[in-house]
């Protein structure tokens, strides 16, 4: 009996081997539904694409553009066209050579409205693409381009696997993607994990990269400590201390120019009045909102504190409930236990946030109780990303939003604050700020640009279109077993070819 039981027990306990030595396992909140550079919708897909595909250019370690599939390039003196010579001997995962036709095909497929690619906007500036020979591509632009190579990071696809320029989500490429990167996709597994194996002949140091779906970020940190994962793309602030103290884990800081904010809908009757917005700025205790969720800097304007554009002369609006009460009264509101508007109705604000913003729920609940205790009712709304796009971006159906903006190294806030900005869903309009932003965009003098944007900071702070909250310190975490790690702040795996296990 024991002879049967013991093996059964052992089998049940499943004493199996761990993953093979050269495997890097990392976690995503949600596994990609499709690994296809033309139809990328989420960051987890972008990260997977980074492993499997390559673009003409990519970031070098100084975060400046460097040739990747391109070997060399030349921009015409009038800056209306460029010629790119491709690297010799690059092959696709199926062995076919990568040629200029593939580049032309990719650009045309991205631009084709029939394909409804999510990346169509990335090639809108290219007027035409031509293959001059197997290794040379000529691009012409719609307008003069100062640094076209910065915009050529999109991934190149193999023309020979498609008919013409027709690319469909339902095609076989979906399950068997073919790229030119150092790894190729071996399997989409049942448990939503993805296995990618090193291409033969590649000198990458990771034999295998496995993506696992683990929706709980807290559990992701635990798994890293259990050595069930080797990499975490982003660590929650509250897990930092535990991970820092673990000798088998190393933290890598992200340089993200990102900040949280409470944005006011500029056209809502209550929030139209500057006194009300100012009152809310004095009423909210920002430090108290930040304390439970992590460490970071509290801001006074639309830049992170270390930004050259940050105006350190703009004072922080003090947390002053009495001043807030004064301002509300001046705006025509009365207080009898709750704040009542000029129409006699209770002041109620709907605050929306998106559910996949970590810790936003905690902040919103906290905010609700803060304002509730001061006599303002807050109705929190936790929206899914789809609802967010619908309600906030298209319908502008909110009073206040709690959200975060992330900027790349250029910290360009035009889209958020210019009246013509494509991301200005708050409806902020200031001719002064418009003028400053227009001038800053075209300035070629760094000190002038710096001065202009600092003025923008001051102007925006004075208008109170939002309560600027904070930046959070952000880190990735990796097992110390992984060597030579440098993490790209946006795509994570850009330099994974150098990593080794």
């Amino acid at each position: 009996m024991k002879r049967v039981l013991l093996p059964l027990l052992v089998g049940a306990l499943g004493l199996a081997a761990t993953a093979s030595a050269g495997t890097l396992r990392y976690a995503e909140d949600r596994a990609p539904g499709i690994v296809h550079p033309l139809f990328t919708t989420s960051m987890s897909e972008a990260r997977a694409n980074e492993l499997l595909f390559e673009g003409l250019f990519s970031d070098d370690l100084q975060l400046r553009s460097a040739p990747r599939l391109a070997e060399s390039y030349e921009v015409a003196p009038d800056r209306l066209s460029m010629t790119i010579t491709l690297r010799n001997g690059v092959t696709w995962h199926d062995g076919q050579p990568l040629t200029a036709d593939d580049v032309v095909f990719t650009i045309e497929a991205m631009a084709s409205p029939r394909n409804a690619s999510t990346e169509a906007g990335r090639v809108g500036w290219i007027a035409s693409a031509q293959a001059l020979d197997t290794r040379t591509v000529s691009l012409t632009f719609r307008a003069a381009e100062a640094a076209p190579q910065d915009k050529l990071y999109f991934k190149i696809l193999p023309a020979h696997l498609f008919e013409g320029t027709k690319v469909e989500r339902s095609g076989s490429f979906r399950t068997r993607p073919v790229g030119s990167g150092a790894w190729r996709l071996t399997s989409f597994n049942d448990d939503a994990s993805i296995t990618m194996s090193k291409v033969e002949g590649s000198d990458a140091g990771l034999d295998e990269v496995v993506l696992r779906e683990v929706s709980d970020k807290n559990y992701q940190a635990k798994l890293l400590l259990y050595e069930s994962l080797e990499a975490l793309v982003r660590v929650l602030p509250r897990d930092l201390a535990t991970l820092q103290n673990d000798r088998k884990v190393e933290l890598y800081p992200y340089q993200t120019n990102s900040w949280w904010y409470l944005g006011f809908h500029q056209d809502k009757p209550a929030l139209k009045k500057p006194e009300v917005r100012q009152a809310l700025t004095h009423m909210v205790d920002v430090d108290q909102l930040l304390a439970p969720i992590g460490t970071g800097d509290v801001l006074t304007g639309p830049f992170v504190r270390s930004s050259p554009f940050y105006n350190h002369d703009v004072p922080r609006a003090p947390h002053d409930p009495d001043k807030a009460a004064e301002l509300l009264t001046a705006a025509g509101y009365t207080f009898n236990g709750r704040w009542l508007g000029p129409d006699g109705k209770e002041l109620t604000l709907r605050v929306a946030t998106v559910s996949n913003l970590e810790t936003a729920q905690d902040v919103l609940i906290n905010l609700q109780s803060q304002l509730q205790s001061r006599g303002i009712t807050v109705t929190p709304e936790f929206l899914t990303p789809a609802e967010w796009k619908q309600k906030v971006w298209r319908e502008h159906d909110f009073d206040i939003v709690l959200s975060q903006w992330s900027f790349d190294r250029n910290e360009d806030i035009y889209e958020q604050f210019h009246s013509q900005g494509a991301r200005n869903f708050l409806g902020y309009r200031s001719p002064e700020v418009d003028r400053l932003l227009d001038e800053a965009r075209t300035s070629s003098d760094p000190q002038e640009k710096k001065a202009l944007l600092r003025q923008v900071h001051a102007a925006v702070a004075a208008d109170h279109p939002m309560i600027f909250l904070w930046t959070l310190d952000s880190y990735a975490a990796m097992s110390t077993k992984v060597k030579r790690v440098v993490v790209h702040p946006f795509y994570f795996f850009t330099w994974a070819g150098d990593w080794a296990l």
Binding site: L13, G14, P113, T118, K389
Partner: protein
């Protein structure tokens, strides 16, 4: 009996139709669609709406969905696994979850019945208290706690060198008996199935213990358990049927927390991605399961209970 089968069958079919129709209505009239999630939604909306037939009226969409369904096609996934046939996406997860749910059901019924037979008729019972307490905790809490205890315990043992790294630990690469058993156990207990079975059967047992024919059998010196069993079967069936829905709901939680592949995880992700084709496919399967379970339970009751059979 045939009349019963036909009538109940017809009602079941109608219920199913109604349930699926209702789900369809919910999905169609809910605000937003999968296109919203795309970064350049506005630019691609005209093309995709036409291709995915989202620009048709709800009734048209319902009609074409039914048409496809009758032809055996559950549709194509839009955003969860773009381009994949829904049946291909949900087939394996449905089987996995289905087996798990059936196992949980079996565990709940057998354990619940055995316990109930022991405690039925007793005024105070420790076992009853335990079962009630166990069912108080919400499923996600139970599952979370079980996973945490198991992992932390194993990790501590591993650190101390007492155990090698088990295959089921933390983030398993393949299926394992322990994990599946844990899932089944949690489902059975956490979804209150065990408790419900126990309570219902206990009640029936108590009632039966005092019934005249059982007394008569006891007086005759015959064993009472075959009688009890026979009379308990109908109750067990109806309780089982009523729990299927709860178990399906519970499996979403258990699968997410134990990181097991299954219909629950698929439903969760597909819903977040607004992939209504997949969501409807899963809803159809779930509704069918529930309706069929109830139908079978109903028919079983009629068949088993001579009084009902006679009146049918």
């Amino acid at each position: 009996m045939t009349r019963v089968v036909v009538t109940r069958g017809a009602w079941a079919a109608l219920t199913l139709l109604g349930a699926v129709g209702f789900s369809f209505a919910l999905v169609v009239w809910a605000p937003g669609d999968p296109i919203d999630l795309l970064p350049n939604a506005d630019a691609v909306r005209p093309t995709l709406e036409a291709r995915w037939r989202l620009d048709q009226s709800p009734l048209q969409r319902m009609a074409s969905w039914w048409r496809l369904l009758l032809a055996g096609d559950l549709g194509t996934s839009l955003s969860y696994r773009p381009g994949a046939p829904v049946w291909e996406v949900i087939r394996q997860p449905v089987v996995a979850t289905g087996l798990r749910v059936l196992a949980a059901l079996a565990v709940a019924i057998t354990t619940g019945s055995v316990l109930a037979l022991r405690t039925g008729g007793q005024r105070r019972s420790r076992t009853r208290l335990l079962v009630q307490l166990a069912s108080l905790a919400p499923l996600f809490l139970l599952a979370h706690g079980a996973v945490a205890v198991l992992n932390e315990g194993a990790f501590a043992l591993m650190q101390a060198g007492w155990m090698g790294r088990p295959g089921w630990f933390a983030l398993p690469d393949q299926a394992s008996l322990l994990r599946s058993s844990l899932a089944i156990g949690l489902l059975a207990v956490g979804s209150s199935s065990l408790h419900e079975v126990h309570a219902e059967i206990e009640h029936a047992v108590a009632h039966l213990q005092e019934s005249p024919f059982v007394d008569a059998a006891r007086a005759r010196g015959e064993a009472t358990w075959p009688l009890l069993l026979r009379h308990l079967l109908p109750t067990a069936c109806s309780v089982a049927a009523s729990r299927v829905g709860w178990l399906l709901g519970g499996s979403v939680v258990v699968e997410k927390l134990l990181l097991l592949p299954g219909a629950g995880a698929v439903l969760w992700n597909a819903a977040l991605l607004r992939d209504y084709e997949v969501v409807l496919g899963l809803t159809l399967v779930a509704a069918t399961a529930v309706v069929v379970a109830r139908l079978l339970a109903d028919l079983a009751r009629v068949w088993l209970d001579p009084r009902l059979r006679a009146s049918a």
